[in-house]
């Protein structure tokens, strides 16, 4: 197990470095390179940049310097958005805001989505099931910006119940978190339903029924545990959904988080911020995938992932 964790950690680290290299090389396709904006920066800034990243040096050495500096937590300074402020400080300031909303949405998605899926599977073929399936299919068909803007329209414009922007109190969190969690919730629900149906048809469920276990015990003790494993493996992609949903939701509700800032930096072409945020968010998703893989192993000892894929 320890060997496996070390191996996966090393793999993930290599992947993050690969992503960083790719980002750097792609950004070098931009005329003038990523550290120079379209208008040339002031001579002092230019000199400082050239000294730090060796912009006069060959590309491989620049790349090496960028990656080494990255591990020291130095992503360069912002060119336009917050001129000359280190990018790492900006990420440190913005990320907690996004993380808080994202985490609440993730918890909401899982704690509501899984029970919904289980209820739907339990009442398979009945009205309850078809109603829930319609809602869940609708949920994965409606883009996050539609959910976000319709919630905004309904609760802020029409009835003026909730604040439309900022993060001053708890009531500011209701709409963004609902909008953000809707898609992952329905996605989790659908997954939970199908894996619950798989679990219900297994032999051990019939055994449990035969020995006289109550329905409640069968569902919660036997079926649910095994049904949760496929759902668990989707926590990685789920994080990615929340991330991309965050870009939209933070933009719609004007939340000063990293997602909205990332989009703004793309629109403003502030390249150091774009690069740093891309690498940071990619590392986050890769890390979540790592955690999921390890959890998978802990939860289901039948799967011996150390033996390689099949």
């Amino acid at each position: 197990m320890a060997k496996y964790i070390v191996k996966r950690l090393a793999q993930s680290l290599i992947l993050v470095i690969l992503v960083a290299c790719l980002t750097f090389l792609l950004m070098n396709l931009v005329p003038g390179g990523p550290f120079l904006s379209e208008k040339s920066p002031s001579p002092e800034v230019l000199a400082a940049m050239e000294a730090k990243y060796g912009l006069d040096q060959p590309l491989p050495i620049q790349l090496k310097n960028y990656v080494v500096n990255m591990f020291k937590g130095d992503f360069g300074v912002s060119l336009k958005m917050q001129k000359n402020r280190p990018v790492i400080l900006i990420i440190k300031e913005m990320f907690p805001v996004s993380a808080k909303i994202g985490l609440i949405a993730l918890v909401m998605a899982v704690t509501i989505g899984i029970p919904l899926g289980c209820i739907s599977a339990y009442y398979r073929g009945t009205r309850i099931d078809s109603a829930l399936r319609v809602v869940m299919t609708l949920g994965i068909s409606v883009p996050s910006f539609v959910i976000a803007t319709l919630l905004l329209l309904l609760f802020c414009v029409k009835f003026q119940l909730l604040p439309s922007m900022g993060l001053n109190g708890w009531e500011n969190y209701i709409l963004p978190c609902t909008a953000l969690s809707f898609y992952p919730m329905c996605y989790t629900g659908r997954l939970a339903r199908s894996s619950m149906l798989d679990a219900i048809n297994q032999d051990y469920i019939r055994t449990a029924k035969a020995k006289g276990a109550s329905t409640k015990a069968i569902i919660f003790k036997h079926a649910l545990r095994n049904a949760l494993i496929p759902v668990l493996t989707y926590l990685g992609p789920l994080t990615a959904f929340i991330l991309s949903g965050g870009f939209v939701v933070e933009t719609v509700f004007s939340i000063p988080g990293l997602g909205r800032y990332f989009i703004q930096s793309i629109l403003n072409r502030d390249y150091p911020i774009i690069m740093a945020t891309t690498i940071f968010l990619a590392a986050l998703v890769i890390f979540m995938n790592l955690v999921v893989d390890i959890m998978y192993r802990v939860v289901d000892p039948r799967i011996d992932i150390t033996k390689g894929g099949n």
Binding site: L15, V19, T23, L26, M27, L29, V30, P31, E38, T137, L138, I140, S141, V142, P143, S144, F145, V146, T149, L150, L152, L153, V157, K158, S194, L197, A240, L243, S244, F247, V248, T251, V252, F262, I263, I266, L267, R269, Y271, I274, T278, L281, A282, V285, I286, N289, G308, G309
Partner: protein, 347 residues
């Protein structure tokens, strides 16, 4: 008499056990005449795979309704603009910010452009992006998956490792990154060259191009996995062994024997790829990174409407509903298609 193992069977009917009311005449055992044969064929016509699938699909009410809605949207997007002289760029002075009326059913925007015509063109962009991106996925995914599955062994495991690598890169970040990177070189290239290709690439804009590139780079992974699984199963079949024994080359076996047999899976996966491409396009356009003005898409129309949400809420609601309806019908139709083409998968 037929001897099979230790048991004995007889082909002679057991007269004693026939139920009452059934009696055989001598002429029941005569060979059928030509007329009889023709009648027999007429009574039970053979049903092809497609006819069978279509019959199943027709009985699926949800899928039929979804298909009907899709037809309406396609009509709206492609035929609709033909009825109007104005197009998505036409600005009419003096009719800015009108509400819905007879001459402008969806109203006009702040430049005096008719919103219904813009919505038509927007839906058209969404549909075209969805279909084209899915075709890219179809080609790359099918070829990659079948090569990996058919060759097997070390080649397969290396190819699958590569898939895992691609799978773990967050796709949305790649799209955003690509659109940023493509933007300036594209503009620079178009300013210098005046060829038809350059101008059409500008109309597309860096956002849409990066969507296509990203679909070509990343999104075919799930398609390749599905096709690989199918090919792994199908290549064990006797007809593949037979084809190999007859000296068919690998390419021929893949093209003539394996692909036709996973056509159902290929179609369904491609079909379900369309809504995800539309999803991505509207997402990017909403954030202002997708289509570039004056071209528009449903996401861009919604984004424009966000500024006037207090005064003109319908501007936001209409494109949102059309977009959601489009994706929902595509999803439902794809599900129906899966049930129809491959009833074994039905849950």
């Amino acid at each position: 008499m037929i001897r099979s193992g230790n048991q004995m069977f007889t082909l002679k009917p057991d007269y004693n056990k026939l139920p009452d009311g059934i009696e055989f005449q001598e002429d029941d055992f005569l060979t059928a005449s030509e007329e009889d044969k023709e009648n027999f064929i007429e009574k039970a016509p053979s049903v092809s795979y497609w006819k069978d699938a279509w019959r199943r699909l027709k009985h699926n009410r949800v899928a039929v309704v979804a298909l009907a809605i899709l037809f309406v949207i396609v009509f709206f997007a492609f035929i609709g603009p033909l009825f109007f002289e104005a197009d998505y760029t036409t600005q009419v002075r003096g009719s800015e910010n009108l509400g819905p009326s007879l001459s402008h059913p969806f109203g006009t925007d702040k430049f005096g452009r008719d919103l219904m015509i813009r919505t038509m063109y927007g839906s058209r962009v969404s549909l075209i992006v969805g279909v084209c991106a899915s075709l890219i996925v179809l080609v790359i995914g099918t070829v990659y998956g079948s090569i990996s599955g058919y060759l097997g062994g070390r080649v397969d495991s290396v190819m699958m490792r590569f898939l895992d690598l691609i799978y773990s890169v967050p796709d949305i970040l790649v799209v955003l990154l690509l659109s940023t990177v493509i933007h300036q070189p594209l503009q620079a290239w178009c300013n210098t060259s005046h060829s038809g290709l350059a101008s059409s690439l500008v109309t597309l804009g860096p956002g849409l191009i990066s969507i296509f590139v990203a679909f070509g780079l990343l999104y075919w992974v799930s398609m390749a996995r599905i096709i690989r699984g199918q090919v792994l199963m199908l290549k064990q079949m006797e007809y593949v062994t037979a084809a190999r024994a007859l000296g068919a080359s690998r390419t021929r076996i893949i093209r003539r024997h394996l692909w036709p047999n996973c056509i159902g899976q290929i179609i369904v996966t491609t079909c379900l790829q369309i809504p995800s491409a539309i999803f991505l396009e509207s997402f990017l356009s909403f954030l202002g990174i997708g289509v570039s003005a004056p071209m528009t898409s449903l996401g861009a129309i919604a984004a424009d409407a966000l500024g006037g949400i207090y005064s003109y809420p319908y501007r936001l609601v209409i494109p949102s509903i059309i977009l959601s309806l489009m994706i929902l019908s595509l999803n439902l139709f794809g599900d129906g298609l899966r049930d129809a083409l491959d009833p074994r998968l039905k849950k």
